[in-house]
Assembly symmetry: D2
Amino acid sequence: MTIKHLSGLIAAPFTPMYADGSVNLSLIPTYYAFLKRNGVKGAFIVGSTGEGVSLSLEEKKAVIEAWGACTKGDMDFKVMPLLGGTSLTDCMELARYARSTNMYAVAFTAPFYFKPADAATLVQCCITVAQTVPDMPFYYYHIPVLTGVDIPMYNLLQELHGKLPNFAGIKYTHEDFMDFQSCLNFDNRRYDMLWGRDENMLSALAIGATGAVGSTYNYAAPLYSDLINAFNSNQLEEARMLQQQSIDMIHLLGKYGGIATGKAFMKLVGVDCGEFRLPVRNMSAEQFARFSADVAALGFSQFSAR
Amino acid sequence: MTIKHLSGLIAAPFTPMYADGSVNLSLIPTYYAFLKRNGVKGAFIVGSTGEGVSLSLEEKKAVIEAWGACTKGDMDFKVMPLLGGTSLTDCMELARYARSTNMYAVAFTAPFYFKPADAATLVQCCITVAQTVPDMPFYYYHIPVLTGVDIPMYNLLQELHGKLPNFAGIKYTHEDFMDFQSCLNFDNRRYDMLWGRDENMLSALAIGATGAVGSTYNYAAPLYSDLINAFNSNQLEEARMLQQQSIDMIHLLGKYGGIATGKAFMKLVGVDCGEFRLPVRNMSAEQFARFSADVAALGFSQFSAR
Amino acid sequence: MTIKHLSGLIAAPFTPMYADGSVNLSLIPTYYAFLKRNGVKGAFIVGSTGEGVSLSLEEKKAVIEAWGACTKGDMDFKVMPLLGGTSLTDCMELARYARSTNMYAVAFTAPFYFKPADAATLVQCCITVAQTVPDMPFYYYHIPVLTGVDIPMYNLLQELHGKLPNFAGIKYTHEDFMDFQSCLNFDNRRYDMLWGRDENMLSALAIGATGAVGSTYNYAAPLYSDLINAFNSNQLEEARMLQQQSIDMIHLLGKYGGIATGKAFMKLVGVDCGEFRLPVRNMSAEQFARFSADVAALGFSQFSAR
Amino acid sequence: MTIKHLSGLIAAPFTPMYADGSVNLSLIPTYYAFLKRNGVKGAFIVGSTGEGVSLSLEEKKAVIEAWGACTKGDMDFKVMPLLGGTSLTDCMELARYARSTNMYAVAFTAPFYFKPADAATLVQCCITVAQTVPDMPFYYYHIPVLTGVDIPMYNLLQELHGKLPNFAGIKYTHEDFMDFQSCLNFDNRRYDMLWGRDENMLSALAIGATGAVGSTYNYAAPLYSDLINAFNSNQLEEARMLQQQSIDMIHLLGKYGGIATGKAFMKLVGVDCGEFRLPVRNMSAEQFARFSADVAALGFSQFSAR
C-alpha cells in the first residue's frame, strides 16, 4: 500500500448529544459542512474528543455511519474513526464496520487497562487489528497522558517496520519532540506523522510536521490556517503571535475544567453539540457565563470558525 | 436495603479460553465445582483477573449467563460481575443483564480513560449506574494501579453516604491501610469492605477485614483458609508463616510476567483456562517449564487447590 | 558485628528552632527528658521530621552533638542521625562526626536528585558510606515518597547480604507490606526492620514488626504504647480502636498541610519547637486556632504525651 | 536592575575529577579555553551536569572560585553557579560566595526533598535566597524530571512579577513548550528564558528562544552553532538535519546509561573530566569501547568541539 501523507488540519469532532445524553446524529451533516467551510481537511471521529470510550459499540457504529454517509464522494475530506478501546475483539469488529461505511482509514490506540509491556507486544496488538482491514490505512494513536502507555514511537516504528503493509503512520499527541522528529525522519520520511498538540503546532512545523489532528480545529481552524500560512511564508513573528493566541485560548481549557470546555466553545460558534457524558463534568450556567466573557476578551470572534 | 457483609474467600475467576482465543463457556460449571470444593464462597467475574476489558459486551454477557446458570440455587455462593468499563451506557446495560441472570450483586470501577476529577464526580457515576438495579447490592471496585483513579475511599464514603440505598461496599485492591481501616469503621462498620490484596491478608485481618476477593484464591484457597483459621485462633506465628508462603508464590507472578501467570497456575491445578488475550503476554513453553519447577520448589502441592 | 533488634517506639524528633529560624539547641535536653518520660526508646534525628535536608552540615553537627551530650550514658535510649543527603562526601564526614559524638548508629537514605539506577548501585552507595564507620550499626532509610527511589528492599537485602558486616537493618517508611514481611523473614529474621508508618502500626505488628520509628511518637507515644500492649495481650478490638484514634489524629496532618503540623502538635504538648523552614509552609495563627479545636475534639489530651 | 538577555550557547560544564574521585581544579582553565575556542558564551556550573548535588559545600566553593579566577575580565563569557540544593541556608551562603568570586549571576532550583506546595511557596524560597545578592541576576532553574517540582513557570512569573528586582529569568529544562512560550511573551518578553533541552533546540528557536544552556554544548557546540545559523538564515532543511544529528548523538546517552555518558564524550574530545561520583554509574571499559564505535559511526568528529 502506498502511504499517503495528509496535510493541513484534521479536526477531532465532538460527538453531538441531545439534552438527554443520547447521540444526536442529525447534526453531523451540518457539522461536516461547518468544518469544510472553515478549511478543515478531515475528521478523526469517536476518538478522545469524540468520547469514543463513553459510547457503546452500537453508538460508535451509528456515528461512523453518519459521518460516512454525509462525506461520501468527498475525496478531499478524510474521515477515520478511533477503533478502541481495551478489547481487540471490539476493535476488529469496528474496523470491519469502518470499511463498510466509507471510512478513509482506521486508528487504534494502546489498550489502557492492561497495558502492553513493551513495543513488541504493542506491535502484536497493532498487527492483530490492522490485518482485519488490510486495504485500509492504519494509524496508531499515541496519547500517553490518557492511555498511560508511554512506549517511544521510534521504538514502535523500529519494531513494526516491514511487518504491516497498511501501517500508515501515527497521530502523535505527546510532547516528546525528539521522538517525534526521529519518527518523521524514519526510513526517508516514510510514515505519516500527524501532530496532535494544537498548542505546540509551530514547534512541530519547524521540525517538519505537515499535518495535524486536534480538537481546537473544530472551532478555531482559521487561526491555525493563518499560522501555517505565516510559517510557510517565513513570517515567523506573525506565526508566533498566532500560536500565542492559540495558547491563550487553550489556557481556558485548564481554567474551566478540561475537555468539556470544547463543547462550550462549539456552542459559541453555533454548532451546539450538547454536553459531555460522565465521567466528564460540564460547566454550570454560571461558569459558562464567565467562560463566555473570557473568550470574548481574547478576541475569539476574530479567529474563530464560523 | 440491608447490607450483608460477605466473609471468607471470594475468587476472581479467570475467563476460560479455547486455544483460538474464544471464550470456553463449557468449563465454567467445572470451575465452579472446583472453587466450591476448595472452600471458596463466591466469584467476582469478568473483572481484572477475568479479562472483562478484553471481552466484547456479548462475551461478557455469555460469561455472566454461564456462571448464573451453574450457581443457580446455591445461596452460599455469591457471584457478582464487574460492569465496566469506560462507558456508563455499557455498564447500565450489563447491570440489567446481571439482574436477569441470577447475579447476587454488581461491581463498578471508575472510568479509566477520562477519569473522574473528584469524589463527587465519581459518586455521580456510581449513582447513575447503581440506580439501574436498585434492588441489587452495588460494590465499588477500587484498583488505582490499573484505573489510575486514586481518590481515597474514605472520601467516596463521605460523599456517597445516605445517597444510594443499594451501595453495599468496596472491593479494595490497594495498599492504603489507613484509608481501608477508616472505611471499615465508617458509620459503625456499615459497609462491606472486601480486601483485595492477597499478599497482605494478615495485615488486613488484623485491622478488621473479614472478607477478601482475590485471584490467588482460584488456585491456592486452602492456604488462605488455613491463614484465616490460624489468625482466628490466635496462632499468629502460623499465620505469618502461611502469609510468607503466599508471598513466595506471588513473587513468581512478578518473575514470570504478571497476570498471565495466574492461568499458568490454573494449568497446574488441572483447570486449564487457556491463555490471556492481548495485550497481556503469555509464557513461552520454555518459561512454563521453568515456572513449573519454581512452583514445585515452593511446595505448592501442599497448599494448592485440588 | 552482632545485629541488635530495637524494640518499642523510636521518635523522629523535630529540630527545635527559634523564632528567627535558627536552631535552638538549648531545648534538646528538655526534649530528651520529655521523650523518656513518655516511654520512647530512642531518637532518629536530623531525618525527615528533623528537617535534616534544610540544615547546613554545621547545623546538623550541632544538633547531633547536642543529642549526644544529653543522652550520654543512657544505654536504654538509642540515638541515630540520618547522614544525608545527595552527597556521599557529606555523608561520610557526618558519619565520622556521629561516631565521635556518642551516637548509637547511623542511617542513610538513597541520593534523591541523581537516583541510583538499581539495587546494585544503591548497595555501592551504602557500602561506601558505611565503611567509614565499620564499628557502628548502619541502617538504610527507605522512604520512596520523598526520595523517589522505589527499589524493593528485598532486592537490597539480597544484593547487600554478606557484604557489609555493620549493616543492621532498615527504617521502612513505605506501605509495601509484602516487601516488608519478606525482609523481616530474610535469613532467619537477621535484620532489624523498623516500621515507619505510624498509621499502620497494627498491620505491621501482625506480620512481625517489633520496633517502630515515627514522628507522631513525639507527641502521642502513650497511644502507641497502649496499642502495642493491647496487641501483645490479644486485645485486638482495643488495638483497632487505638489505631483508629491514631488515624484520626493523622488525618489532621493532611487537613492542615502536612509535616509542619507536627510542630503544631508539639506546641500543644508544651515542647515548643518553633516552625519549619522553607520550603515547608507553616500554619497561620487562624489555622492554628482551628487545628487546636480539631485536636481537642479528638480527645487528644487523653492519649497525648505529657 | 536591567535584565540582560543572554544569547547563544551556554555550556553546563562537568566538574573535572581525578581518578580517586577528588575534584580536579587544575583542568578548569583548559576547559574554559576549550569552550571559548568552540564558540560557547558562558558556563552554568555545579548544576546537574556539574554534579553540584554530589559535592560538599567546600568543593562547590572551590569549583566556583576556579571558574571565577580563569574567566576574570572576560565580559563575553558569563559564569553562573547553581546554588542548591535542599537547604536555603546553604544556598544563601553560596550566593554570597558567588558574589565575591566574579560570578555573573546565580541560579536556584526548587528544594526537592520537601517540595514547595505551590507557586507562592516557591516564590518565597526564591525571594529568600535572591535577596542575599540583590545586585546579581538571579535565575530559576526548572528541571522537574530531577526535582519532581512541576509548577508551571507561567504561574511562577505571575506570582513573582514585580516582587524581586534581580529576578532575571529561567533556565527551562522541560518539554512544556506552551508554558515556555507563555513565559517568553510575558510582560513584553521581559524575562530571559534560556532553553535547556538540546535535543529540541529547533522547536524552541521557532517560538522565539535565543539563548540555551545545555550539557552537549560541552562537546558538540559547533553542531548547535551551525543549527542556529541555519535557522537564522532560513535554511530550515539544514537546521532539521543538524537537529537530527543532535538527536542521534543524544540517543547514545539513553543507550549507555544517561548522564555519565557526557564525561565519556569529553574523553573523546580530549578534555578528560574523569568519572561521575556515585550514585551515578560510569561505563565499563568494554562499554566505552562500544560507545566509541557508535560515536564514530555517527560522524561525530565532523561536528564535535575540538
